[in-house]
């Protein structure tokens, strides 16, 4: 069974990748997950300098999902290149670097610094994280800003450029179309959904960051609808994610129009989720009577 897929110029051995922020910088799950088996991994968001993130508590369980307010803590692109990239270069999988910034300039700083480095297969522009007030979010909130930051980054690099969308907008298709026009090579969708919880004992917001990002199976319907809508708005490939934990979930995303998927929250409870899905995928495809992943991509779209 042919599991290989392409996301633009990036060829993946299979469509299952680890989602940014849930798989650290690669080595954390060593011994628990065989990275070489994965289609790829997206590392935690990287900014120009170190970002501190939010005060704890940073996670809170909710029905069918969880909230996080990590706040994009990361050591900055210098430390990333020095301490994390060497390990990532040794992994036999695709490495996607998630890029964050407070300003267009900061996005470009990160991307430019990465130009000198080998071992990076794609950049994922995170214009959608709800945990950061000074900009990150707002770039993902209207087509014009999204296009601005994408255009600027596009000018700094020839690397495959994926733009990761926020679901917290009325029309994600319009944003996808805007970034496609200025040179995005793929769309990642979705980032977490803004939410919050109240700690009734303390009578306060449960998270240190007050609001946070909802992820996990609870958001799968939201993610599928974004993918389905974006697939009808652009012709570049889509990397789908949001609540995936089974091979059936993956097939839903493929049929909605995704060329590949990422698994995030599910890895926390079951580190073996991604490998189990890769294991089960051939048999599942056979039962659907298709001979490649490719045949399912967009199968549920209108006119198909």
């Amino acid at each position: 069974m042919n599991l290989a897929v392409r996301v633009g110029a990036v060829r993946l051995a299979n469509p299952i990748m680890a989602a940014s922020g849930t798989f650290g910088f690669g080595p954390e799950y060593q011994g628990l997950v065989n990275i070489a088996r994965l289609g790829g991994i997206a590392v935690k968001g990287v900014s120009p300098g170190p970002w501190p993130g939010n005060p704890p508590p940073r996670v809170w369980e909710t029905e069918g999902g969880m909230l996080n307010s990590i706040g994009l803590q990361n050591p900055g692109v210098e430390v990333f290149c020095r301490e994390d990239l060497p390990f990532l270069r040794t992994t036999k999988t695709r490495v996607v670097v998630n890029v964050i910034g407070r300003t267009i300039d900061e996005y470009c700083q990160v991307v430019e610094r990465l130009e000198a480095e080998s071992g990076i297969d794609a950049l994922e522009l995170n214009i959608s994280c709800p945990n950061i007030k000074e900009g990150g979010m707002s770039f993902g909130q209207d087509p014009e800003h999204a296009a601005q930051v994408t255009r600027a980054v596009r000018a700094c690099t020839k690397r495959p450029l994926w733009v990761k969308l926020s679901p917290n907008v009325a029309d994600p298709g319009a944003i996808a179309a805007a970034v496609e026009r200025v040179g995005a090579d793929a769309i990642s969708a979705i980032n977490t959904v803004v939410g919050m919880a109240i700690d009734v004992k303390r009578r306060r917001p449960a998270l240190g960051g007050i609001s946070g990002g909802l992820s996990g199976p609870a958001i799968k319907p939201i993610a599928l609808r974004v993918v389905y809508q974006v697939a009808q708005s652009v012709s570049i490939p889509i990397v789908g994610m949001g609540g995936i934990r089974s091979v059936e979930d993956v097939v839903e995303f493929l049929m909605a129009g995704a060329s590949a998927v990422m698994v995030g929250t599910a890895t926390f409870a079951e580190p073996g989720t991604m490998e189990a899905i890769i294991e089960e995928l051939p048999g599942y495809l056979a039962r659907l009577e298709v001979s490649s992943v490719h045949e399912l991509i967009g199968a549920a779209l209108p006119g198909r």
Binding site: G53, F268, P271
Partner: protein, 260 residues
Amino acid sequence: MESPRVSRYRIVSRMEKAKDHVELILEAPVLARAVPGQFVHVRTPGTLRRPISFSRLNPVRGEAGLLFQVVGPGTAWLAGREQGDWLDVLGPLGQGFPRPEPDRPWCLVGGGVGIPPLYAALTAWQNDVTASIDAILGARSQDYLIMLEDFGAQIDHPIAVTTDDGSVGAQGTVLGPLAHWHARHPTGQVYACGPMPMLAAVARLMQTSGVAYLALEQRMGCGVGACLACVVMANGPEGPLWRRVCHDGPVFRAEELIWS
């Protein structure tokens, strides 16, 4: 050190240790070789696993214990497990307590469900320590006091007990007896686990002399250092930085930590 794995272990016994407190003993040779202060991430229904410290580690019998208080749906589900059931466990995780220095007086200070990892430490190392060994156990009230008998079976002199309401032992917190102990053993080593305010007070008390290792709790996602959920503020070479309880801890030296 044992590297973490996901595995299923059989529950060989289940005990009610106090009101709302249950201890499960797992047949788990790998876990039984863990370091006291390390913990496991237990699969319960819902999105995330639940971190629980080892309450006992018996490498000879190949058994590891988990003692927990029922505080929500995860621990309620765990409390419903029975002898013969299997638990899905990720572990052992984190950095445990260091081996105590043999010739320093040793005091184990536990509050509530902070007591179990100290019991694991006591049984692991009591024979290594030639200096005096003391324990101070605190609880909300008599009903909630756990493991006094377990400690009593290991330590031959009286164990200090405190309760918030004075229903058993002295009324007050573990801080009273600890201050007393510290005054008598100014260079002693303290291993403590319990609620954050208690640990902060222990750290303050030990600032002047001696050494204290504290086992912390923080809400966790992955449990393996990947998600950056479980951070606490610590002193770094270039100023304060977040450290991960799951990976850099849960045990920290008191002076590493910054208390807000």
